[in-house]
């Protein structure tokens, strides 16, 4: 009995010490976390004030050059605040609205320094300035509790997404920022990409039935399409309607998405056990070309290839028949199996909605004067590429090497008319 009491007492003490240690540890972690969050809030508050000031200062000058520093500050500060907000455990809808607004503000200030209309800048930034003043005040109120150490991060979070009258006032912050963002700033580059896909809803082609979609799949990929598991329509929230078809044949399982209008393939992908590679690069490229021909993608040219363990990924780009320029916004991706040359994947979602191209002059340019002497042009082509103003521009698409010994390769895209460098990408 005595021994039992001793063991129990001993276990109790050990457990007590352990749980005390754990509690201490958790408390320390909690303090460290709270400190970290407080720092982020404090940083964002301070920078929000600076941002508001920079926005106001940039409205003082008529000349773009005179406000260049302020515009640069707007871009830098909005980026900094974005980073601070991103590190806070705030409600997702709230933080994304913030990030959106700050991203748009920063990008707009930066892009308008390079190009853009002054009157438009003052109208947009004046509106942004008013919004920021209001937001800055609301942010001070919302964060004062956290910064004085009187409120835990959990409480703070609850209030941001709360339902009582006082709390709802806070949760409206996110919504108002969202409205500001959408009303004041133009679309960003990534949004136009997304927009391009969303525009698939405007395809004029006739609507096809589910059976017709399955038939199209069977005609195109007879090797895998014998056993369709399920075919269903996209959900109501989808920006463009499509059929989602899942299939299984032998060890192959995959899906194909086909637009309801016109029956265009959006993407196709299959997974299966892979065997030992037997097909060469040339054979696979030829097979990919044959597939494109069969699927009637006849206006594309091969651009690049990447080998990985089980497959090659090939990229084809639409070629404008008028001038032979590659249209980089209209690609088709194909994945080919190294073991038997089967088409494992097709992605044409961006190709379906072809870009509208305008004629554009090609000004003569002396590359020797354009580049430094150690830059050597290895290949010169024409391409259509989107510029900062989100327009498709005809451009010189150059492959250059900058260091004779190290052979560092860059792809450089230069507008044929304005000679503006649209993009420089290290390979």
């Amino acid at each position: 009995m005595k021994r039992m009491i001793f063991i129990l007492t001993y276990a109790f003490i050990v457990l007590g010490i352990y749980s005390f240690g754990k509690t201490q540890e958790n408390e320390q972690l909690s303090i460290a976390l709270q400190t970290q969050y407080s720092k982020s809030i404090s940083d964002s508050s301070q920078k929000l004030g600076e941002l508001e000031e920079a926005v106001k200062k940039s409205l003082l000058f008529e000349d773009k050059k005179s406000s260049a520093k302020e515009r640069e500050d707007i871009w830098r500060l909005s980026s900094d605040i974005k980073a601070s907000i991103a590190s806070l455990p705030v409600d997702e809808s709230f933080s994304t609205a913030w990030m959106n607004y700050l991203g748009r503000l920063g990008n707009y200030a930066k892009e308008s320094t390079e190009q853009g209309n002054s009157d438009e800048y003052y109208a947009v930034i004046q509106k942004a300035s008013d919004n920021l003043s209001e937001l800055s005040n609301e942010w001070q109120v919302a964060t004062s509790g956290m910064l004085s150490g009187k409120m835990s991060i959990k409480n703070w979070e609850n209030r941001l997404s709360g339902t009582t009258e006082e709390e709802t006032k806070w949760s409206k912050m996110g919504q108002s920022i969202k409205q500001y963002g959408e009303a004041v700033f133009p679309l960003t580059a990534s949004e136009t990409d997304a927009q391009k896909k969303k525009e698939l809803r405007n395809i004029k082609d006739a609507k096809i039935s589910e059976d017709e979609a399955i038939q199209r799949f069977k005609n195109l990929l007879p090797e895998v399409s014998n056993d369709v598991i399920a075919a269903e329509k996209s959900r109501k929230g989808s920006p463009y309607p499509f059929y989602h078809i899942r299939f299984s044949q032998n060890s192959s399982i995959g899906y194909i998405d086909i637009t309801q209008k016109g029956g265009h393939i959006l993407s196709y992908l299959v997974e299966r056990r892979m065997g030992k590679p037997t097909k060469s690069y040339e054979e696979l490229l030829q097979m990919a070309n044959q597939f494109l021909e069969k699927a009637e993608y006849k206006d594309v040219v091969f651009e690049e290839a990447r080998e990985n363990d089980v497959a090659w990924h090939f990229v084809f780009i639409r070629e404008n028949p008028d001038n032979g320029a590659k249209v980089f916004s209209d690609p088709i991706h194909i994945k080919m199996a190294k073991d038997n040359g089967e088409v494992l994947g097709v992605n044409t979602s961006e190709y379906i909605r072809k870009e509208q191209l305008k004629p554009q002059p090609i000004r003569p340019v002396n590359w020797k004067e354009f580049f430094r002497p150690d830059v050597k042009i290895m290949k010169e082509e024409l391409a259509y590429v989107e510029n900062n103003q989100l327009e498709q521009r005809l451009a010189h698409y150059l492959t250059v090497v900058s260091n004779e010994k190290k052979q560092e390769t860059y792809k450089i895209v230069i507008d044929t008319d304005t000679l503006e460098v649209i993009k420089t990408e290290k390979q």
């Binding site: 705030v90 040339e282 994945k335």
Partner: protein, 261 residues
Amino acid sequence: MKRVVTRFLYILVASLMVLSFFVSHSEAFSGRDLAKGAKGDDVIELQARLQYIGFYHGEIDGNFGFGTYWALRNFQEKYGLPIDGIAGKGVKKKLTGVSDYDEKYVKGQIAKGNKFTYYGGQSLESQVQQGSKPQNQTQAPPKYTNQDITLLANAVYGESRGEPYEGQVAVAAVILNRVEHPDFPDTIGGVIFQPGAFTAVSDGQIWLTPNERAKEAVIDAINGWDPSENAIYYFNPITATSKWIWSRPQIKKIGLHIFCH
């Protein structure tokens, strides 16, 4: 007896010579042609041999990029071969004849993650620096690093390892869509580690070692596949606690996840 022994020795020596010929050939290139975009052991050999004779100055990593391409074209030009940047049978034969390849040294350095070169006429010891470079790098579009790919594979495995392959590619695509979207951080790390964004980060499952399937799914996503059809959110309707996520316009369901805008 002496004659028998002598004959036996002759046969033995001849056999060894034949064997050594085949051994040295088995270490040389495989039969396939090598073009830009290729990867693997024979690309390592191609880069090493080109470096040995001073044509290639880049990293010997088994990825046939532009550096290897220009070096190969220069080699073809110098030796009067057709200049196409493809290492076919003729190119490999010529290259094998004029260069050397110490497979053990080269692959040993790669396995150790060391920074090294393989120039002929210099001692090998002087060409090595200790390092910890990751092995088995993936061929990816230029804007993605191997670190991005590793992080994506961790996230995909932590978030969706029980899901169909399509669902895993879709999870990777959602992360990439967020990077491009103005509402989210503009780096892969920023998106993945945004507080509260992914359950796998909150519960630590992101640090599980991803399998080959998750890695393959990431490779497909970075090569442009997006089974989510441009989604920026997804959730499991059985476990989701946020009311807000139900308000997002839904696109499609893959496995247990609903993908939405």
